[in-house]
Symmetry: D2
Subunit: 355 residues, 4 copies
């Protein structure tokens, strides 16, 4: 009954096996190995487009380095106000691009709307030296509210951004969950919809520690390796990053893993709804946000369940976040739902109404 | 016959096994897991001192973050001019502490001498606002020339540094090789000799990707976690960093692995000397630097051997670096020495004298 | 009829004279001169408190350096969303403290309210490594909307900030206008109300180029000079900064100059109101914000008047900002008001209603 | 008898007058004023080349911003090891371009030699991600040893730098002294000799606080204004920077002022030589470096003379630096020389030989 985060799960067995297989003999370090050499062709095929793949060990590194690459030092990155890059990375994007600014935009269910983006861009004075200049749009797919951008929504936002000269970045820490849920080729929610650079996450969905920055225009990647190196994000035994990423996408493993996580979230959401619990965001991938009365939350924690308290959409207390993963079993969900039912039965009014 | 670097080797089987063992079930992320919880006690016992252990994935991260932690933004870090932090990290220390400066000092065989350090410190004007102010001394153990600092040499340098208010950092990317070679407790070359913070390397000596910043004064570590996070160096599935580090030091594995690397370097050095090849630095750990005539180098590469060209001590061309690792076998060394002998036999004068 | 900004005016004659007087003979540079030596005692008397005064040439430098001094690299500065530090300094605070973040708060008439501040602080998770940590509150006095904080409002906000360990910074680019308008000793709106560090502006109110960072706790100023130097903000012929600041505050010049600016703004506001023009913020110092129909704005510019278009409080177009200065004459205001009357007479409905 | 620095002098009367003249009426701020508008044409004529002139208040700002403009974040700036940018700006270049590195090169009399530059460049591995990449050469004219680069020496160094893709920056804090001493058009020691960007100093030679970054290729200046703004180096009442710079170069004032400084240095050097004092660098502009026995130095300071102790070329103590300025009078020099003679007469052996 562990729903605190998908990163509390371990490593998919296929990926652990790949690490063991990668361990044979000597290989050149710093990315000159044969496994790393396969990344570009394998991901180019996956994305139906020539891509440049740069592996790193953390999602924060992927995001912060990618944004620094496409933003001048006096640039602004527009994103949802709750975006991980703005709210959960302790200023990493600003560390790697000092003087740049993240501009958080409001938006229901974690999504930036086209009108909001237009209005925000309209408030800038192009060329006015007193202001940072808008340089990038960063979209999270899935969003921090566990929701998705449909391909045409991404395309609309990208068109607005590109018209003003901005680059479009996608924070895909849970990209697999989005692609699995949408059931579209990964190209449809990236370069075909105007995305210039993607933080492709793997860790939350079964890798040990492996993410990749994927440039859809290789020219955009120029000298990116210097940026990565001086941030301390070049892994010397690079084969072990590449091995994770290759195993992750080969044979569709990534989508199978994400599919399980999504299915478990749907099961959890359905069960909670049945018990009269209110969901505060649509459940579209592997996260469930629900209004959860404090007594019920306490009861559930007493049974060993783990999850995070979360603010309600109005900022007040009273909700919880549940994240399912590749490793979540239907039994886990069902046991948790049973605990919910038991908690509600014990003190129905208190629990359901938070008294 | 791969001597390009110790990081071209894979992972020690004990560490790979530990990763697999760590994979069971759900564990809290971001370092709240039970494996990470064991780091402080295990390393405190190893170092015979209460230490604060902060794992990261790369040596550059360990060095740059540790130096940023002990240096104000207007501070200078004194180090050997060839030190990795100064010459091989693409400015990472300055990225994480913008405005700070690394001051490279000369010194034979990769070592900073006490008189050189005194003289360098004497050139600063304490409190003069036009100059960065000396804040840290960084020593590499082993050095970039594969040599060692004896405990009393470290103590002498630390005393000079501390007398001026500097903190002492040790870049221990090959710390195991140094400890194994010196045959002293790790405390003797760290806190007992005045070292305040250590970059404890494991990757080059058999880990997959695992290093640790070790603070000998826990007060020095205050808020270091924020520094690590905003650099993108907090690994979410932290158990897999901890598992590597624990397996590495348990049962003395780290010293056994380093012992092999050191023995293989000694074997290689002895063999080269026997063939009349000149060593350009004392061989004290797992690196051999030798004058290598270009024809011989070409011959050796023709047999499949890998190693780096290296400058002679005067900066000119003509030498090579050979690094042995935990995985180097005596057969590898012997095969290489046979290739040397064959190369010299084919064209003795050309090869030996570089004509 | 120049109301674009108070910085379009020149230099008060008393200050120009002081620059000429400071020109005699040789004086030590970099602040070791006798004029600079008088800054601390003169300002300590002015503020009825021992202060540390550090002169710089621009307000952006004063703000950015002051905030960097009181904020760790992973710190957040809370301020009004329209504050100069957040909206008009092109990321300077983030340049001098890379990785820190400015958090803009909403608030009517340019003021941050106590409840808003409390709520914003309540959203942080103290010690959570994923988030920047609140470190400073920056208040603008006068605000970007030309309004004032009363002493008790400052004290209330400071108390909230101090209770959470934040330092309080005041951006006093128009501090003189505030003090002149409030008619209180400068101490009452600074240290007595909890302000820890003040950007004391002089340029907008009659100096040539001179501002000062004033620390009310000299311990807070430790090593600030290094911060200033490495930013290129140490003026070598420091006597000419000090001469401006001394002439500015001696004999109450600063308040006389500000008093004129404030009176002219009041005259302008009264005249506009008489003509039926709507003021969109209270006029409390030397800035007038008014709804201005586009035809009338065009008419006024046709007569040579200068002023900036400004957004309405809801973010839409349709307003203008008028700033008066120490040099604004009643004749300027009256001529402008006559032009307004003429413009309205020419096309009363169009002009007044913006058709 | 004030020889501590040329910046201990005040302001040339012509420049003070220009500031007073610039004070009339309202002018647009932030550089949109008519005086600033004259900078580009006036300096383009002076340099016989279309230039882009960006005024700032300090030489450190000019240098640090110029270098940041022409160097990527992973770039190295090669300069003399004693260069002001490397030794006297407290890391400002690294503040404005975090992660970049200054590489100090040795060289007699403050000059970088062509062979030294070639050798230093040869030690880099182009494209190797572990190293910062050479991006700019910074030459000081005059040098920190008071010497000059002849036009052909600059051209030779620039050719080497350009062949490797580096830009050439000149730190001209004492550019006027160099041009006056060499008797060549300013073009000859700048763009005609390959200089891409110049820090054009005026403060040390009679301005109050005014320097300019001069780009010889306007394309190089793209977006430089953002860089200047976010560093807090945009002066709002810009007319007063422009007025200084215009008065400084009009009618050859700058060269007349520098000519006096140079002549006084020559007079001082000749007098010292006559007294048997050893000059430790050639005297080519307005600085005299001399071996000065401690007893004589003490005697001179006892008479009220001011000057800095300076290291001997070998780094040891025992020398002094004397700087003359636009305001130095022959009487000052002669009085000082008389004091030297008296000091030597009082204790000839001690004084002359430093016993």
């Amino acid at each position: 009954m562990h729903f605190a985060s998908d990163n509390t799960s371990g490593v998919a067995v296929e990926i652990l096996d790949a690490l063991a297989r990668a361990n044979g003999g000597s290989m050149p370090s710093y990315g000159a190995d044969p496994l790393t050499a396969r990344l570009n062709p394998v991901f180019s095929e996956l994305f139906e487009h020539a891509v440049e793949v740069v592996p790193v060990a953390t999602g924060t590194a992927a995001n912060a380095l990618a944004l620094a690459q496409v933003t001048p030092p006096w640039g602004a990155v527009l994103c949802h106000e709750d975006a991980h890059v703005n709210a959960d990375e302790c200023g990493a994007p600003e560390v790697f691009n000092p003087g740049s600014k993240l501009i958080g935009l409001p938006g229901a269910d974690g999504r930036v709307g086209a009108a909001t983006l237009e209005a925000a861009l309209g408030r800038f004075h192009p060329g006015a030296v007193h202001e940072v200049q808008p340089a990038a749009l960063s979209l999270s797919q899935t969003t921090e509210a566990g929701t998705l951008y449909a391909p045409d929504a991404i395309a609309a936002l990208s068109a607005i951004a590109h018209a003003r000269g901005l680059k479009v970045h996608m924070d895909g820490a849970r990209f697999a969950n989005a692609v699995a849920a949408l059931g579209v080729p990964p190209a449809d929610v990236t370069w075909r919809a105007g995305v210039d650079v993607l933080s492709f996450g793997a860790t939350k969905n079964g890798a040990m520690m492996a993410e990749a920055v994927i440039f859809f225009d290789p020219a955009l990647a120029a000298r990116f390796d210097f940026r990565r190196k001086r941030a301390g994000h070049v892994i010397s035994k690079a084969r072990f990053l590449a091995a994770q990423l290759l195993a992750y996408v080969e044979d569709g493993l990534w989508l199978r893993l994400a599919g399980n996580a999504n299915a478990m979230a749907a099961r959890l959401a359905a069960g909670l709804t049945l018990e009269g619990i209110t969901l505060i965001h649509p459940v579209e991938a592997n996260e469930v946000f629900a209004a959860l009365p404090a007594p019920l939350a306490a009861h559930l924690r007493g049974t060993g369940a783990t999850f995070y308290d979360w603010p309600m959409p109005d900022g007040g207390a009273g909700a919880a976040r549940f994240v399912t993963s590749f490793a979540t079993a239907a039994e886990d969900v069902d046991a948790f739902l049973a605990a919910v039912k038991a908690g509600l039965a014990a003190a129905p009014e208190d629990a359901a109404h938070g008294r």
